[in-house]
Symmetry: D4
Subunit: 215 residues, 8 copies
């Protein structure tokens, strides 16, 4: 038995165990999703290759694939969504979109209204200032940025909302695989920014969902 | 003019600019707090030495000092507090208490009910399991831990609450000033943990406050 | 002569020299295993590719390949095994299984009873607590975990057994190829955990075997 | 209540909770040791300053201080010691003695026979070879070394004993506070070496004790 | 002879050799400045302690000390200054002022008009936008920032001026002595930012001076 | 809408937004360049693969590809060039030429006269000294070097010109992907060197252009 | 002109410029070797692929390829060799042979007698002690080792010969691409070991040759 | 017995064991030097504080202290010196002199003629070129440099002599305690440079002595 599924997680955490596909064989991913599909309405598998999706699709017919975000989802019963309280996912550049989409789709399958504003990096600050109203209306903000990750600080200073910062590995040289953006976000002069791992769109989406559904 | 106070911050962020005392002269800290005190009910200065406090006290008579947490506070009008929705601050060891207190006092001055559970590190997991009920009642969790920072992952798996993880620099050798705990928390297998900078109790308290006051 | 085989090692260390295949040519691995097979009952070659195995098989007909663990083994005469004293190999996730298997097979070929418990990461702590009895019965514990490696600390706090922690390179971003799990395990608040190199299932299996066979 | 003592630890782990004094105030250390002294025969506090010892001594009269090792011990009832099975603590240089002593005293207070061989670094390999007999008689080996930590590999190749390697921060420049010795030991070509944190004599002593007392 | 003064530097570089006082004895600094004072109108010594200044003052009566910036200057003949072409030195926080002053005083003694705008960090972006006109009038911009150093990116996007970014060691934890700000600035999404070493106000001032005096 | 083009940038910065192709799909690059081509005379896309170029060429017929430098350019109207004021691009080795060319072509398309001197590394210092006259005539210097990057310091000491240093990832082992050259350039004893990111020829060309066009 | 050959190097350094092939195109390598072959008897090109060799061979018919060492050599006139004074190249493992061969062939083409002793790592110290006589007879020692690189320290302590230590990238996990071996060698407790870059067999061979030819 | 003196070292290595004082108590240093003084003519103790010297002086009356270099020496019988073959010690800056002196005094006490040329850093390359003749006459070169350490590469390219490069911790910010200079020297484009640890003047002096005394 290679996997001890945490079936209790739906009760404890409000969502089934999410499958981390990296480092697993195609057969393992297929078997795990199949087993999860017996007990859950909604399933999420992250960092999934297309090949994994094909194998899953063969046994779970209603599985879907989000190519850019590398996610497999099964969604049999849409959770009720409060469309007034939305999560705003912002990205600094176009290259950060795959991670931003991982966050957005994660939040959606967990029952949240999500809006997207991409390519609003700080080198053209007016693009960001144009979104001021949307930022003020949002309930939770996810900021996805690579390179120097400065977008998180600027957004963090604009409103007293929970800001979840996701550093990405976009960049080269002294970006050291996203380290520059990560350190930048951890040291933000805007107080109270929540940071997740480099490229961890999933974690950001999950955290945003938890916060967004607080009452 | 060495400081451009951001007086607009109270309106934009719900709390006056917080003074970061490190790297400032005693005179600068004194002058900044004095100026802030003209416009604000509540003031917070972090990483303040006792000497700085003495200088501040001379010009702002109702300033208080939290020695362990190295905070100067001024609180002229208690904000209304919803005592049902509390923030739970947990620490793995006794040595992490200064950072935990920075978080707790920050959240308190920003108008939150705060409870504390200290010294519940994972090496004696029953101590943590004993607190299960309190964890379930809390609205937001702050987990403060040095060394390997494993407490965050275990707490993160116990309930679907926002968990804010604060790595501390407690440790030695390959802890590299808190790096071990930081990396540990960023890579947590418990999904959706929010991480702040090493020893950044203030940031955790601020973030918890924002989340706790969402409606 | 490209290799000076340490034929004395069987006497000195109780097991023949183990071949580290990485960085060697297929021909070198083939020749070394062939020579070892002339003098030893049991042979182990680690980090072996399938291609290397095929070449070895051609000259040592009873060689076997453990694909997941990337091990080549030859075992001509089973060593006597004390089945009462077993080594328990635990993994945090399914993705850590290849390293866990490297440890398990290594310990087995060196004459130990091995039991396996996989996928009991701390994010669902009840899965681990369910194994309490097995943990108490084991003689030596091997804990294999990637990401933040917190499993080692929790297991380390549960019983006064030798715990050998193996960090894996499973993870991404700020896991930095297993550095996060490594540092986490080195800084464990559970006293007396033995740490080996990242992904070094072999070393863990070897150390566990030495300890398990002490009288 | 700043400390939740893990009084259950004596039963679970065979020794009372060990106090990590770093980062604690003198008052906290004093209070913790005093409380532990009510329930336990043997107490150990690590990384204790002389000032902490003086405060402890005032309330626990039979406390002792090991200055080099920075340990406070209380030992009211010597545990029975099997003097046949001894732990051998070796150090590469004279400068590594404080860490070696932390290991040795820890193992002693936990009821083990300990022998010491100091200053046998590999640059004069004959000094080490002279100790061959002692190494073969020992039950568990602790190797304490700074700089490049090569001693662990040489000892590890000499006998099939559990070798616990303790890197120290002795060195300068590219030793990076013990990182060189740590990496060296983790990458040892001698299979099955157990590594603990830099300067963690305590952890090595504890691990050696657990292994040494296996039957 | 412990110092080979580069007396040719005034001709080759337009300014005498600048003394780097760190790591020198008080006597060495005194002797070097004294010798330089025989041949040059303007002298600059960086990272000078007060004690060094006192020793220099004893032999070069017109030496001055800039305490915050830790600079010793001698200025016997003001160079002609083009007050139309000014260098604007900006700092993100009050704590960055010592480095900013090192840059400003360096540029002044080399014959440039300098203006200062301090404490305009991005967490209160309006403070920066208020300075838009000054930024447009400046000839060269020096941006001094610690923590996450985001100010450089925002300023870099505002005008097509040479922007010299100086990361400072202000911060704590994962700022790693200024590394976070340094990496942030090197990875800026605003194209064409010039970066100098952490805390290197002197280098920034020198570079700004060279650019500002181009015709 | 995956990209918010910063059309205002031509006015604000004197050149259209430059496309960073890494991390974008071929379709995204194609669409972005096509849209930019509607409003701008000169376009630059960096880190572009040949496949991206082919897709762009299909929709923007006059696009050109610089294979070594991995640049796509469109240049419909040559900007006026002051051939007296030239930028000198120097490389330490032949292997550094791709990055040097990225800098050179960037500066050219932005309207600058560029001269190239390649393969003048410091191990044969006479090759560099032979170029003294050219160095003195240049207006701005770009120094591209991998390995230990020493060329920047030597050139920096030769003339009071703005020197822009570009570390490259050429090297192996302890070059750590260009880190050695980067640190070397940041710590240069030649005062006032401007450093850009590893392999960032584009940034260097852009900065040189801004400086070269100052009046 | 992409390469400024340093034809003066033969006179200044006693050997023609050595071509570093990494990062160069096949055409560049071909052209450089061809040009060097017009002026020199002996030519060396390092880190050359087989494809580069084929291209070189087409224009320099007597070029030879050392596949393991990845070297191209041309040797038209054997330099006189003093066979009494030999360089001993030792490797810790079989996997280190490619780097060891790079060193050995480099030293040979520069006119030295070279002897090889491979696979004498410290985990079986008797293999090394068996070579004591050869070590004493050698004039210069090159020690090539990956993993923890301990061989250098042991050899360094055995005789008062110049020892050149070459760390290799052989290893995995916390070897960090050879960093562990590099730091180990730099921190060797055996005084006076010369260290070169990771995998830099060429540099070691060159240095050994210079020392070996001193009179 | 805290120290096992390697009295055999004089025979094996040509010089008595050198005492590394860092991390030892004053009493230990005193006792070790005293014991060495019974058997040896020449003694060297490195990284010695003034306090250690005073203690040593009390028991070994002819001990001398080199304050800058932090060395204690005893020299009872000058070894014969070949003044034709000298070692040239060069430093880049005045601040590097303490390390340079450690190298120089070490080489002298081991029986070598030593000459010194200090403060010839590459930022004023003519200072270095002025020393060309001396460089050509020297038998072995030691180059001591902090900051970016470029001096080693330039000297390495000037003559076919053994060059021993000593990085120093002089610098700040991104020098990271000498790491920048160390990496720079390891990656030198001048082939065949020998590198020792940061600030390891002793190792450089020892290595130079061994090479210088080869025949
Ligand atoms: N020197 C030490 N190094 C590592 N861990 C230690 C050390 N001393 C005590 N500990 C562990 O630290 C924990 C106590 O932490 P605390 O509650 O902060 O006193 C216990 O689990 C001990 O096993
Ligand atoms: N992309 C991801 N990043 C981080 N954690 C994840 C990711 N996807 C799933 N997880 C977590 O990984 C755990 C599952 O690991 P495994 O048992 O190996 O499938 C679950 O606790 C998830 O919350
Ligand atoms: N494998 C190698 N490692 C380090 N340096 C080398 C290597 N091969 C050649 N070199 C040096 O690289 C320089 C040539 O670089 P390039 O001009 O790019 O061919 C010469 O100074 C050689 O001494
Ligand atoms: N604060 C500083 N940071 C970096 N370089 C400096 C600084 N001050 C002076 N320098 C440079 O250091 C060199 C002088 O070094 P030294 O000979 O040791 O005084 C000169 O080339 C200066 O340009
Ligand atoms: Mg964009
Ligand atoms: Mg505790
Ligand atoms: Mg799982
Ligand atoms: Mg010794
Ligand atoms: Mg401020
Ligand atoms: Mg070249
Ligand atoms: Mg071998
Ligand atoms: Mg100087």
């Amino acid at each position: 038995e290679f996997a001890k599924l945490d079936h209790h997680r739906l009760i404890r955490q409000g969502f089934a165990e999410v499958v981390f596909c990296q480092g697993k064989t195609v057969e393992q991913v297929q078997a795990i999703v199949q087993r999860l599909a017996e007990y859950n309405h909604s399933i999420l598998a992250t960092r999934a290759s297309k090949e994994m999706y094909t194998a899953v699709k063969a046994v779970v017919a209603d599985a879907e694939y989000h190519e850019l975000a590398r996610l497999i989802t099964v969604e049999r019963q849409k959770p009720p969504v409060d469309s007034e309280r939305f999560i705003l996912v912002m990205s600094a550049g176009t290259s950060d979109i795959p991670v931003a989409e991982e966050a957005a789709v994660t939040a959606e399958i967990m029952g949240n209204e999500v809006r997207r504003v991409y390519d609003v990096g700080v080198a053209g600050i007016h693009r960001l200032l144009d979104q001021r109203q949307l930022i003020e209306q949002a309930n939770v903000l996810i900021v996805v940025a690579g390179m120097e990750g400065a977008l998180a600080s600027v957004v963090g200073g604009m409103a007293a909302k929970p800001v979840i910062a996701v550093p990405t590995s976009i960049g080269y040289g002294a970006s050291f695989g996203g380290l520059a953006a990560l350190l930048s976000m951890l040291n933000s002069c805007a107080a109270g920014i929540a940071v997740v791992n480099i490229d961890n769109g999933f974690g950001a989406g999950r955290l945003a969902s938890i916060i967004n559904q607080m009452r």
